[in-house]
C-alpha cells in the first residue's frame, strides 16, 4: 500500500519539465513569484520530505487542488456516484450472466448449448470495450432508439447501455473460468457421493459444486476491479457520463496534472482496499484459507 503510493508519487516526481512553468502555462514568471509558489508547495524540499508531506495530507483526505483551485476530493465526491452506479450495473450483469453462462455450459457440457456459449464468450472476450460500446450505442441508441444514446438525462435507463458495455465482457470471461472450475469440481469424489445418495441434479450443482467454486469466482471479481476502472474511463467517454473516468480524460486533455495524479491515487487506493476485502471475504467463505 505504502509502496504503491510511493510508486505513483515517484513517477510524478520524476516527470520531466518544471511544474511551476507548467502551472504558468510556460510563460515567464518573476523570481519572487517562483519562490512563493515553491515555498507554498514545498517544492524546495528533497524528495523524501515531499513524500511524507504528501502522505500526511492524504491521510486527512486531502488529495490536493486542481489548477483552477477546486479540491480534488470535492470533484471526486460529486462524480463518484455516477461511476459507482455504472460499476454496480456492470457487476450485476457480470454476476448474473457470468454465473448463468458458466453453470449452463458446465451442466450441458459437450452439447450444442455448451459450444455456442463457448463461441459467444470467445467473441465477447475478443471485442474490446471500445468497440462493444459503439456497437451498442449505434444499434440500441440510434437505430432502434430504445435507450438513451449518451448523458444521464434519461435516469436509470441511461446506465443500461454503459453497464452492458462493461459487463458483457466480464460476464464472458467469468463464464469461461467458471465453466472450467465447475467442471473440475464436478469430477470430485464428494459430487459422485452426492449423486449416489440420490440427490437431484439441481441440488448437487447448487449446493455441492457452486460452494466450492465460489472462492475462485470471488477472486476474479477482485481482479476485475482493475479492468473495471480502465474500462470505466473508456465507457464514460463513449457515453458521455459525468463520472470519474470522464473527468480524468478532461483533466488529461486540459493538462490538469494535479487532478490526474490525485484521481489515479484515489483509484489505486480503492483497488488495493477492494482486493484486501476480497481476500478477507475468501477467508470467510473457505475456512481453509487463513491469513496470519
Amino acid at each position: 500500500m505504502l509502496g504503491t503510493i510511493l510508486l505513483v508519487f515517484g513517477m510524478v516526481f520524476l516527470a520531466p519539465g518544471d511544474p511551476i512553468s507548467r502551472l504558468a502555462g510556460n510563460k515567464p514568471l518573476s523570481p519572487s513569484t517562483i519562490a512563493t509558489i515553491k515555498e507554498r508547495y514545498h517544492l524546495d524540499q528533497p524528495f523524501v520530505i515531499q513524500f511524507f508531506d504528501y502522505l500526511k495530507a492524504i491521510s486527512h483526505g486531502d488529495f490536493g487542488a486542481t489548477f483552477t483551485g477546486r479540491d480534488v476530493s470535492d470533484i471526486v465526491k460529486e462524480r463518484f456516484p455516477v461511476t459507482v452506479k455504472l460499476a454496480l450495473g456492470a457487476f450485476a450483469i457480470d454476476v448474473v450472466m457470468g454465473l448463468a453462462l458458466s453453470i449452463i455450459a458446465a451442466v450441458k457440457r459437450r452439447t450444442w448449448i455448451d459450444s455456442s456459449i463457448l463461441v459467444y464468450t470467445l467473441f465477447m472476450i475478443t471485442i474490446p470495450t471500445l468497440v462493444i460500446g459503439f456497437v451498442l450505442q449505434y444499434v440500441f441508441g440510434i437505430k432502434l432508439g430504445w435507450l438513451p444514446v449518451a448523458g444521464i438525462q434519461g435516469g436509470w435507463q441511461s446506465y443500461i447501455l454503459p453497464s452492458l458495455t462493461l459487463g458483457l465482457g466480464f460476464a464472458a470471461s467469468l463464464g469461461r473460468l467458471g465453466r472450467s472450475d465447475i467442471l473440475d469440481n464436478m469430477s470430485g469424489e464428494h459430487i459422485r457421493a452426492a449423486h449416489a445418495r440420490g440427490l437431484s441434479r439441481r441440488r448437487v450443482v447448487g449446493h455441492h459444486v457452486l460452494k466450492n467454486s465460489l472462492v475462485p469466482i470471488v477472486t476474479i471479481f477482485g481482479l476485475d476491479i482493475a479492468y473495471l476502472m480502465g474500462g470505466a474511463v473508456i465507457t464514460e467517454t463513449i457515453f458521455n457520463l459525468p463520472g470519474l473516468g470522464q473527468s480524468l480524460i478532461i483533466a488529461v486533455r486540459t493538462g490538469n496534472g494535479p487532478y490526474v495524479v490525485g484521481l489515479v491515487m484515489i483509484s489505486t487506493i480503492i483497488f488495493v482496499f477492494t482486493n484486501l476485502f476480497v481476500d478477507l471475504l475468501c477467508a470467510r467463505i473457505d475456512p481453509r484459507i487463513s491469513y496470519e
Binding site: 510508486l7 513517477m11 470467445l122 471500445l130 480502465g230 474511463v233 473508456i234 463513449i238 489515479v264 483497488f271
Partner: protein, 306 residues
C-alpha cells in the same frame, strides 16, 4: 492399443513398433494437435495477413493509392468501388489508412509480448528457483506494481510525459503489465524445480543457471507461450484504448484507435468510419486470442479430455 498382447514378448514387440514408428515427444504431440485444430489455422492465417499488412502494406492496394494522398473534395464519401472503405473527413482513402494501421497495432503488440516474456522469464525464474531473499524482493515489487491498474497508470505516465510513438506506448504497457506473467513463471518454476530430473542434474553438479535454462524452463514454457498470445492481444487493445482516450498516438500517426476516436464525432452520419477500424481491431485481437486458445488446449495436458 485395445488389443491385449497374448504373450509378454509380443507386447514388447508392439511397443517397440510404436516407438520406432513415431517417437512421441511433447512438441511433436503439440504439432500434430495444432495441425488438427481449426482455430489454430484461422488464427495463423489472420495473423499472417495482418503481418503482411504491417510489413508490406503496398501489396494490398490495386493501384498506387497512398494513405497520405488526400483530396478534400472527396471528404467523407461512403464506400464505393474506387474507395473500398470510403474516404475519411479529410478525403483520404480509408481502406489504405485502415491497412496501414495494422503496422502500429502489431508493433505495439509484438514489443509488449516479447519484452514481457523476457522480463517475466528473467525475474520469474530467478525468483522461483532461488527463493529466499531474491524471491521476496521480486515478489514484493510485483505486488506493488500489480496494485496500480494498468490503464490508469498508463494514462498517468503518458499524460505527464506527453505521449510518444508506438514504442513509448509499448514500453509503458510493459512497465505496468509485467507482474502478471512474472508471477506465472514464478509459480511454474516452483512447481517444476523439485522434479526428479532437476535433482538428478543437480547431483551431477550442473550449476544453477544451466539447470534453470536446460531443465526447468523448457518444461515450464507452455503456460508462458499461451499467456504471451493473450498479452499481445491485450496490448493491441490497450494501445487502441489509450489512443482513443487521447493520451496515446497523435496525428499524423496512423492508428486504429485514432481513427475510432476521430470517427466518434461523426458516427451518426458516417458509421462506416467507425466500423472498419473497429472491425480490424477486433479481428486482430481475436486472432491472438484464438491462437492462445488453441495453444492452451494443445499444450495443457490436464485439459486433454475436456
Amino acid at each position: 492399443m485395445s488389443k491385449r498382447p497374448t504373450s509378454y514378448t509380443e507386447g514388447v514387440a508392439d511397443i517397440a513398433d510404436i516407438v520406432e514408428d513415431q517417437p512421441v515427444t511433447l512438441w511433436s504431440d503439440v504439432r500434430s494437435k495444432l495441425k488438427r485444430d481449426r482455430r489454430f489455422w484461422i488464427a495463423a492465417v489472420m495473423i499472417a495477413i495482418f503481418a503482411g499488412m504491417a510489413i508490406a502494406p503496398q501489396l494490398f492496394f490495386t493501384d498506387s493509392i497512398s494513405p497520405t494522398q488526400c483530396n478534400l473534395s472527396d471528404s467523407a464519401q461512403t464506400p464505393s468501388r474506387e474507395h473500398w472503405f470510403g474516404t475519411d473527413i479529410l478525403g483520404c482513402d480509408y481502406y489504405t489508412r485502415v491497412v496501414y494501421g495494422a503496422r502500429t497495432s502489431l508493433e505495439v503488440g509484438m514489443v509488449v509480448g516479447g519484452l514481457t516474456v523476457l522480463i517475466a522469464l528473467g525475474l520469474g525464474s530467478s525468483s522461483g528457483y532461488y527463493g529466499g531473499k531474491t524471491d521476496m524482493i521480486i515478489s514484493r515489487f510485483a505486488d506493488i506494481w500489480f496494485s496500480v491498474p494498468t490503464t490508469l497508470g498508463a494514462i498517468l505516465i503518458l499524460s505527464l510525459f506527453g505521449g510518444g510513438g508506438p514504442l513509448v506506448i509499448a514500453l509503458v504497457l510493459v512497465f505496468f503489465g509485467w507482474p502478471d506473467m512474472t508471477r506465472l513463471v514464478r509459480s511454474t518454476v516452483i512447481g517444476g524445480k523439485h522434479r526428479g530430473y532437476v535433482r538428478a542434474a543437480k547431483t551431477m553438479g550442473s550449476p544453477g543457471r544451466t539447470i534453470l535454462r536446460r531443465h526447468v524452463l523448457p518444461n515450464g514454457i507452455a503456460p508462458v507461450l499461451v499467456f504471451a498470445a493473450y498479452t499481445v492481444g491485450g496490448a493491441v487493445g490497450g494501445e487502441a484504448g489509450l489512443t482513443f482516450l487521447g493520451v496515446g498516438l497523435r496525428l499524423p500517426s496512423i492508428s486504429w484507435g485514432l481513427q475510432i476516436s476521430i470517427a466518434q464525432t461523426r458516427f451518426t452520419s458516417d458509421p462506416y468510419l467507425l466500423l472498419f477500424p473497429s472491425l480490424f481491431l477486433s479481428l486482430l485481437i481475436g486472432a491472438f486470442v484464438l491462437l492462445g486458445e488453441s495453444l492452451r488446449d494443445a499444450l495443457d495436458v490436464k485439459l486433454e479430455d475436456g
